[in-house]
């Protein structure tokens, strides 16, 4: 029974049908084509389910033959035939017994199973086109000729029947369909581009990280990856210096009692790792906040010390199911550019203004130009006084307006402990990723009984702002690799330049290259000399594949002129510049690392 799960609707101007309906009908056509083609070859074909999904559709097939990419054109050709045959698509209501009898007769046992599991109250409908009838809720187009010919089979993958490992493995054939050739072409380009940018693929190719069976969801950052990781932290530290944050270092394993106090034990236990020490239960931290509350309490602060901004690059651990782990974007251990700001309510608006400036500076720095802001306001179930919520929400709105920020309001979507702002960036493929958040919290200060001495000399409860700019560094690296397609900006590139002597046996060229490399390295640049006994072509190709920002070629002419022939990544041409100009260029490029 093809289901229609997707709420995503790519409505088109060229059709009276929604794109979802069109794709759903295309799924039927694909199933019919597969049945026709493979039955004619003597294979028995059983159909599972075939829903439309975001950007396309699939059908699950049970067949004693391994479908490969080379089969796609044959299936597509049969699909085209069915469309051309202009078959009427008709809907019919069956009673349960008739339906069971009909699909049993076709030996479609998977469909029989589906019917058996339908609630007795549910109407059973089938759609028929030519010789093909499918169990289906609909709706569909009226005739096969209404399905645009701009379809494409994309891939095939294994999928357990009904998503259960105990069941049979079927073959899931993915495809898509659009209203116009251009839309299809754009989408196919998008897929190609996404594949090319896939951070798991680039992670391997650029020697950034590996995963190992001994630590699921826990990346091993190789030297190149660790450079990016540490440079990101260094960049965030420069921001922290500018915006007056104080970095702290806190324990990772703390008594379960603390997590009871913070509420994580009650609300987040399933995602936490526990260990026993001397008959006490300890938890590996899934968040830094409780540690910061503990630190705040160890000191006596006055209003003069506030806002107090703690920053922490502590490693955190959260349980995620093995099955849901994916590259760097879904991991079990990560580091956030995490911070907590302690302040009185009246300082909130100014602080949010400051935060917005910092956030935009950061996102723009990484060339995320389009940013969406969601403001989530008080939910039904909440804590904290109404006037605090009034004040806090108004402060957020005022700060957003003062900074000319457009934002969407997600009314009632705030956390029960306070309102929040989420920042969503659009990557080079226009995909949305939530990065930073700013969350106001009335609850933790209450739970930890935090106090500061206010202007009147009285003890007052502070508000806490939880904030992260990039969020999980691991996840950010995954997103960013795809955003820049692995071609990192100069300041962040694991290797910034490779110096290549034209002749591998020229002492003069090699000496010049080594001296230049030494000089650049002393200045802090990440460069090396490639004087291996390999061809210039091979070296050039390797440097291109590694997406190293600059290749510096040194021949006799360059040695004599104290210059290099420089070629930027992505450029086809080189130009010769003096080593002084090279240093100036590199110095200039390093300004990209600055927070201004």
């Amino acid at each position: 029974m093809p289901n229609n799960h997707s709420n995503h609707s790519n409505n088109s101007n060229n059709s009276n049908y929604s794109i979802d309906t069109i794709r759903h009908s295309a799924a039927h056509v694909m199933a019919q084509a597969i049945l026709r083609y493979y039955s004619s070859k003597g294979f028995k074909v059983q159909l599972g389910i075939g829903p439309n999904i975001e950007n396309g559709f699939y059908y699950d097939i049970d067949i004693n033959y391994k479908i490969t990419e080379s089969d796609f054109p044959l299936i597509e050709s049969e699909m085209l035939n069915i469309i051309k045959e202009d078959l009427s698509i008709t809907r019919k209501i069956l009673d349960r017994q008739d339906a069971l009898h009909f699909f049993s007769g076709l030996e479609q046992t998977l469909k029989v199973e589906l019917i058996q599991d339908l609630p007795t109250s549910e109407e059973i409908t089938c759609y028929t086109q030519g010789e093909f009838t499918d169990l289906c809720r609909g709706p569909h187009v009226k005739k096969t000729s209404e399905i645009p010919v701009h379809f494409k089979i994309l891939s095939v993958a294994g999928a357990y029947w009904r998503g259960s490992e105990d069941q049979k493995m079927l073959q899931r054939v993915y495809a898509t369909c659009f209203n116009s050739a251009n839309e299809l072409k754009d989408y196919l380009n998008f897929i190609e581009d996404a594949k090319r940018r896939d951070h798991r693929k680039l992670g391997r190719e650029l020697d950034l990280f590996v995963f190992d069976q001994h630590a699921p969801g826990s990346p091993f950052f190789l030297p190149n990856g660790a450079i990016i990781y540490n440079e990101l932290i260094a960049y965030i530290r420069r921001l922290y210096r500018k915006y007056d944050y104080k970095e702290v270092i806190t324990p990772q394993i703390m008594d379960a009692e603390l997590w009871h106090t913070s509420g994580h034990y009650q609300n987040f236990k399933e995602n936490m790792f526990f260990t026993q020490i001397e008959n006490r239960e300890f938890a590996v931290k899934p968040m830094n906040c409780p540690g910061h509350m503990v630190m705040f309490k160890h000191n006596k602060f006055s209003y003069r010390d506030l806002p107090l901004r703690y920053a922490d690059f502590g490693r955190i651990h959260r349980y995620e199911k093995s099955g849901s782990l994916a590259g760097l974007t879904r991991v079990r251990t990560f580091t956030q550019d995490d911070g907590h700001i302690f302040l009185p309510l009246y300082m909130v608006q100014d602080e949010i203004t400051e935060l917005l400036t910092m956030y935009f500076a950061c996102f723009h720095h990484f060339k995320f130009e389009k940013i969406k802001i969601n403001l989530s306001t008080r939910p039904e179930k909440r804590m904290g006084a109404e006037e605090s919520w009034d004040y806090a929400e108004e402060a957020l709105i005022k700060a957003l307006k003062a900074n000319n920020c457009e934002y969407n309001v997600n009314a009632g979507d705030g956390a029960f402990y306070g309102p929040k702002i989420d920042f969503i960036v659009f990557d080079a493929l226009k995909r949305e990723h939530q990065l930073g958040t700013i969350q106001l919290d009335f609850q933790l200060p209450e739970r930890f009984d935090l106090k500061f001495v206010n202007k009147e000399g009285e003890l007052e409860r502070p508000v806490v702002i939880h904030r992260a700019l990039l969020g999980s560094l691991e996840r950010f690296i995954g997103i960013y690799i795809e955003h820049v397609a692995g071609a990192f900006p100069f300041w962040l590139a694991p290797e910034q330049a490779v110096i290549v002597p034209v002749k591998n046996d020229s002492d003069k060229q090699i000496e010049f290259a080594n001296n230049l490399s030494k000089k650049l390295r002393q200045l802090g640049f990440r460069v090396r000399v490639d004087s291996r006994n390999e061809s210039m072509n091979l070296k050039t190709r390797q440097i291109q594949t590694s997406k190293i920002p600059y290749m510096l070629v040194v021949g006799d002419r360059e040695v004599d002129g104290n210059s290099v022939s420089i070629r930027k990544y992505g450029d086809k041409k080189s130009e010769t510049i003096s080593t002084i100009a090279l240093l100036e260029l590199f110095d200039e490029l390093m300004k990209e690392a600055s927070v201004g």
Copy 2:
């Protein structure tokens, strides 16, 4: 029964007795004095044990009165009386029944308990001086007048009878005694100095770190402490850059299987924390090595890539009993400046030479001038071929000699997996601390089946060198705080300078101070302005107490002359220098951070 546990013997020239014997006798005199004095006040005094220890002695007392520092002179005065009385000290052998009868008669029930627990084979001896008789094995001086008057009661603390929490809490009175007034004075100065330098005390005073009941043995580094922590890592990274190390970032929680492979499960399990994930047993890493072995295996290396030097600042966790935790020097979680070098056996000597250069540069950088080296060679139980041991030990010795390093050989003291070199530094109080180690390892490459392609194109097993310079950063910070008495060098100081306007209400001075501060901060210096409405005296005192390297005072004269009145920490005098000279001075001071 006073025992003599200490092997430490401070022999003196002025006496026929060992200092241990003298102190042991002084312990008797102190017990006698306490008995005399408090009995005369109507208190019942019971004696526990009273051994000599390193640098002194103590006696455990059960009395229904809280002994405090103000009582010390009274006890000392009575001790002096006893010495002056020139009492003979006589030894007597008692049979068990007589001894029990004798001490029961004195109502010394703790002594009775001790006698009851003595093996029946043991001879029971008592020493008597005047009215005082103590159960004791001896030896002692012949008469009380032979005890030098250079004694001193130092402190009193609670101590469980027989060291067991189930037993009564006694009062342990610590004291010492020397052969000369000068030795006593030196020792008292040493104690004062050690107290003054105690890193736990300074950690609080300088706002470096706190501990919390929720995370025993797990420091919370406050902003000031985190600066030192991060600057140390930055310094080590500069060394790594110079010596061609590649930093990596590895998981903290890995499958128990890995720890079986590495052997840690079998040999180190009691010190590891475990957690369950999806019915698999995982361990929190107590060491980084297995993770590095995994990474090495994920790649194919040739001899050209070796030595391959992985560095890792990963957080590690090891269980230590609550009772043995102490400040930063005995913790449950810490970060090492850890590294593993993969190389063929024949490269070992050159690599050790390089390591020695690096180690000495590092230790001298922190002003540890005296360094002791211990070389530990093959133990009886060991793995690896004899010729590998021959080669490895010889390589270590050759490298040590080539670097003109004096060293002690601890024959047979190496690990079963390879020989090692330990580095012991002497701190400002001449106390020894082991910092770095260099350990050769034949075993892990075997257990993980590591291979590289050698010059002949064949697969060869590498050797691994485990190495850390400072060892645990936490422990090093503890040691270093005491070494420098909390007065950090400029490059490492959490705050490098404070600018103080002479008048808190002078806009001109405050503006000048703020501008100077801003300029210095932009250049990366850690400075602030103190324009609080407080007196210059208070501010000066606070800056001194915080051991901030420089105080910069700004009056009208300084503003007009674009200068500051600068006072270095520890100096009594200030001098006026131009702000240009100040920048030059600070730039010059920052060179201390360089690795050359």
